[in-house]
Subunit: 243 residues, 2 copies
């Protein structure tokens, strides 16, 4: 029989999952930030991660589409605004394309998804399906990886600026905004989850949802690591960096 | 402007995709059949592949549920019978569990999916979603990897029997049946696709569906290779062979 956790116990259990499973613990993360990758490998990371960025507003719209509470919807819709911007040329997805531009990847190619790793596509689409198919509570809980984002962003920006001459502060502009957006969004979501997960099975579903989302992020780095880190096993049809 | 292909040209284009992308070309395949894996690595393969087997009748039911033609349904339903059997203890899924039994994996653990690689889960669920969401023609075309199955099955059984003392002919009983089921099913599907893909955009959709399915199989071996082949990066929560 699973016990009911107090709200702070639930938060502690969520943080324990992050401490074990968040992708800041993945070896590819250390390589990326430690300056151990070449330009082609960083291109592969930015190209694949673009696909993840590109579905975030669809994921948030799926959450909005099932939320009956206006206060909830007013707060959550800001995520869509942040990613898509108020007009063309603005927003988080556009800033990510600024990074792929800076890395010399043709924008049409990035947006087409032609060179994506299948492992990226399957993991990212699994996230979208999860949010569409599970309960609203689980969908919100799956966003809680943002609780752990500020640390990884700080490490990533400092490490990449120090180690790579092919990226500069402007190219990493995406992360500046995320440094305040992610904690704001995570605070809202953790308070929601602590308030709404009132039965043991709901709390267990919340914990499993965060594990699932950690798996989504981890599997993306596994796919990159396997394809692009020595010896490198690029699957048929996927992006191959220029020699 | 894409040209209309004749039925035999379409079949040749499909076979060319298989020649380049079918998972018999994956390095993990060579390791498995060449006797280069230890028992724990073969366990990991059988455990993860079980999840793929387990969704096949659901995938075929999704196809049946959208087929308006009775002749088509009568033929296609045999696939569900083959996998599920006529009673408990029969069918292809049961024979796969015979293999995981022989490898010493507890049946409850295999069926629970607890130790699955997230990459396996995401790839397999992508297949199920594809079949549910795309056209019937694309769903049927995605089954066409069975055109290439007899070769890989023959290699697999011969190689595994010759190289591993922990599997015998009985443990590999699943593959005996597939040697005649797969060509029968593939013949039906290729004739359907050649007859029904009458416009260039339909033929292109058929070709992309087969590429997608090859990606699904390839990504499963990528995930296994990354997790379990030297140096081995087992993701958090996934199966770890006994030392």
């Amino acid at each position: 029989m699973t016990e009911l956790l107090g709200p702070e116990e639930l938060e502690a259990a969520l943080r324990a999952i992050g401490a074990e499973r968040y992708h800041n613990r993945h070896p590819f993360h250390a390589l990326l930030h430690g300056g151990k990758l070449n330009r082609g490998q960083v291109q592969a990371w930015a190209l694949n991660r673009y696909f993840y960025q590109s579905i975030i507003p669809m994921k948030d719209a799926a959450i909005l589409s099932r939320a009956t509470d206006r206060d909830f919807r007013r707060a959550w819709r800001q995520r869509i605004v942040d990613h898509d911007g108020d007009e063309a040329g603005e927003g988080g997805i556009e800033r990510w394309l600024g990074l792929t531009d800076a890395l010399g990847l043709p924008r049409d190619y990035v947006v087409s998804g032609a060179g994506l790793l299948p492992g990226t596509r399957f993991a990212v689409e699994a996230y979208l399906h999860f949010v569409c198919e599970r309960s609203l509570l689980e969908a919100v809980a799956s966003s809680l990886t943002e609780m752990f984002a500020p640390t990884i962003i700080t490490e990533r920006v400092a490490g990449m600026l120090a180690n790579y001459d092919f990226v500069d502060k402007k190219a990493l502009g995406y992360f500046d905004k995320r440094l305040f957006q992610a904690p704001r969004d995570a605070n809202f979501a953790i308070e929601y989850v602590k308030r709404e997960a009132r039965l043991p099975h709901q709390q267990q579903a919340v914990l499993r949802a965060l594990e699932f989302k950690c798996d989504v992020l981890w599997a993306q780095l596994d796919a990159l690591h396997h394809a692009y880190v020595d010896p490198g096993h690029v699957p048929p049809g996927a992006f191959r960096p220029a020699a």
